[in-house]
């Protein structure tokens, strides 16, 4: 819950500052209209994002109360505790799990998006609807479905024993692989869609030009297709990495309820340990990782191909 994307609304602050505008009243009217359109969105962000975020940042420097709550005594112990291996390892392993999931999603998603972008129009639509289709069912139900599939007497084990491939049911649930599987299943569409948009937009003549100049298909992919779709790759990676890192539902259901990911840890600090200051500190750490990631993404998107269609 602490991992909503905190991206500032673009253009909110960007006001045209062309000097000596002769139509002052109209400019004022424009500002009012802009405010009317932006107002609800900005209000929403202030009340439901900025204020809680400010509280979280504020809590990190205070002590916890004996029976929960916050005691307003300044301390740095929350941050020292963050580097206690007990917690720090969980943060690291969460980043690792999210990274692994993102990489697998990229490896599966790129070819998928590539093929869909090359389909005839009608099949494209069908394929895209199929990608989005899982979102029509409740997220929790879909995650529980994996429990049924992977449990001891579940469908996968039944099939494998029935086929004589294994004698004993495999322990498929409650390990890191299960969590990655669940995360991957849940967020793969968020990888495929931006990739599809990027690949679809790529002028097919650029690939032809590459072949025409003597590049084999593999070379064309590495030198032309991939660099020019890199912004889509980065967007997809952020879209998958962000919800994976903060997720606590999937580790809870598929990971056997232990605090294996930082999302669970934060949830437990707030709801079970009643240590709001430390929970806030953990949340802030996650936010810091994500902000860093967004900076990397923005930077990479800018140096690469960002100039291409700015002016046609």
């Amino acid at each position: 819950m602490t991992t909503e994307h905190d991206i500032a609304p673009p253009g909110a602050a960007a006001r045209p500052t062309t000097g000596r505008a002769p139509r002052r009243p109209r400019a004022l009217g424009g500002a009012a209209a802009r405010l009317a359109f932006l107002g609800p969105g900005i209000g929403y962000l202030i009340v439901l994002l900025i204020v809680p975020l400010a509280l979280i940042v504020g809590y990190t420097v205070f002590r916890r109360g004996r029976f929960g709550g916050v005691v307003y005594e300044a301390t740095t112990e929350n941050f020292t505790r963050l580097f206690d291996p007990l917690y720090f390892d969980i943060v690291v392993s969460s980043v690792r799990t999210a990274t692994l999931t993102t990489l697998i999603a990229l490896l599966i998603g790129y070819p998928t998006a590539y093929v869909i972008a090359g389909l005839p129009r009608k099949w494209k639509t069908i394929a895209l609807v199929a990608i989005v289709l899982p979102f029509w069912t409740n997220f929790l139900i879909r995650v529980y479905a994996w429990v049924i599939l992977l449990s001891g007497p579940g469908l996968v084990n039944e099939t494998l024993t029935g086929a004589g491939l294994i004698d004993e049911p495999l322990q498929l649930l409650y390990n890191q692989g299960t969590i990655v599987t669940g995360l991957l299943y849940s967020y793969l569409p968020l990888m495929v869609l931006p990739l599809y948009a990027a690949i679809e937009r790529l002028d097919p003549q650029l690939r032809e030009a590459s072949a025409n100049l003597g590049a084999r298909p593999v070379r064309t992919f590495w030198s032309v297709t991939l660099p020019l779709t890199l912004p889509g790759v980065l967007t997809g990676c952020v879209f998958v990495f962000v919800p994976c890192l903060g997720n606590f539902v999937i580790p809870e259901i598929l990971g056997g309820g232990r605090s294996i990911m930082v999302g669970n840890l934060i949830r437990d600090q707030f709801l079970k340990a009643r240590d709001w200051p430390f929970g806030s500190t953990l949340a802030l750490a996650v936010i810091a990782v994500l902000v860093l990631l967004l900076f990397v993404q923005a930077w990479a998107a800018r140096i690469n191909g960002g100039a291409e269609d700015r002016r046609a």
Partner: protein
């Protein structure tokens, strides 16, 4: 490169019976052509005539359903696009937006695994050839349309292909840059000695650039000839109507011209057997205005273009006005009765 003007023409590209269908539409219907070593060849036709499909087949982006294509006698179709000694200058230029000018041009050379220094030398040389020295470090989006085209051209010729394909090379340029580029292309073709094939729907572009033109329509080759011959001796009704302005009459061939029921016998040459259904084509500049002539009519419209005047004359019994091009200004005014004449040698009979 020393051009050998008197050497017998050697076929570089042989196209034999090539057909390509897209669903119900025959984009190419049994096309056969010979493109000679060192010539500037044009594929000319309206959009949808199949010229682009033929170009894509030569480049290897498309495969024909039937037919053979050879380059220097060897089967070209057996090679994938990236192994053909054929380069294409795309209509949209298709420059790589994430690479600099030098990067774009070097791309093809790097694929040949040439040493770095050699690549750099060649890039510099070709940039000088197309007049873009000093622009090597810029990105395509920082260049003007004309400059982008030069980069596209440089990228295509730097590999010294056996065959250079140009897809509508001048269409995206404004008029002034166009004329410049036209001269440049011809100069370059002489200089590098590569066989050029240009695809265009613009007859002026084809006429001014090419040594020979293949006029295509509905997937078929109508006529292959030098520009002047195409203009003076069109072989099919389509070519007669497509290339330049023309006055066309429909009738039956006779020994000395064309018999048109409403107009009588119109003089013309062409060696068609008497009785053959035929067209007679007379160019506007071959028609003389006078007191009396082969036909008489009423002047409908006069337009003065500076060097020439165009006069439209309505002739009873002919549904379209006859166009006459006269040198300089003309004294005739709309409404005047005029006679129209031409010499038989200037009028062509074409079988329908």
């Amino acid at each position: 490169m020393s051009a050998v003007p008197d050497a017998p023409p050697r076929t570089l590209v042989g196209i034999e019976g090539v057909s390509r269908r897209f669903g119900e539409v025959a984009a190419l219907d049994d096309v056969s052509l010979d493109i000679r070593q060192g010539e500037f060849f044009a594929l000319l036709g309206p959009s949808g005539c199949g010229k682009t499909t033929l170009l894509r087949i030569l480049a290897g982006f498309e495969a024909p359903d039937a037919g053979r294509v050879t380059l220097d006698g060897a089967d070209l179709l057996a090679l994938p696009a990236h192994r053909r000694p054929v380069n294409l200058m795309f209509q949209s230029y298709a420059l790589f937006p994430h690479m600099t000018v030098a990067g774009n041009i070097a791309y093809g050379l790097e694929r040949e695994r040439l040493p770095r220094a050699e690549v750099r030398a060649k890039v510099e040389e070709v940039l000088a050839t197309v007049g873009l020295s000093g622009q090597a470090g810029r990105r395509p989006h920082q260049l003007s349309g004309g400059q982008r085209q030069r980069v596209a051209l440089a990228r295509a010729i730097v590999k010294r292909p056996r065959l250079l394909l140009l897809d509508e090379p001048l269409s995206a340029l404004d008029k002034k840059v166009r004329a410049e580029m036209q001269l440049e292309l011809k100069r370059l073709q002489h200089e590098v000695g590569i066989t050029f094939v240009v695809v265009t729907h613009d007859q002026e572009e084809a006429m001014s650039l090419a040594d020979r033109i293949a006029v295509m329509e509905a997937g078929r080759v109508q006529q292959v000839d030098q520009p002047v011959r195409l203009y003076e001796r069109p072989a099919t009704p389509f070519v007669a109507g497509f290339i330049g302005a023309n006055n066309l009459f429909e009738g039956t061939a006779a020994g000395d011209g064309l018999v048109v029921p409403a107009l009588g016998t119109l003089p013309g040459g062409g060696g068609l057997a008497a009785g053959t259904p035929a067209l007679l084509g007379v160019r506007p500049e071959s028609v003389r205005l006078g007191e009396a002539g082969i036909l008489t009519g009423t002047v409908a419209d006069v337009s003065f273009y500076g060097g020439v005047s165009h006069i439209a004359v309505r002739v009873p019994g002919h549904d379209r006005p006859i166009l006459v091009a006269a040198q300089g200004a003309t004294r005739v005014r709309p409404g005047a009765e005029v006679g129209l004449g031409w010499s038989a040698a200037d009028a062509v009979l074409i079988a329908r």
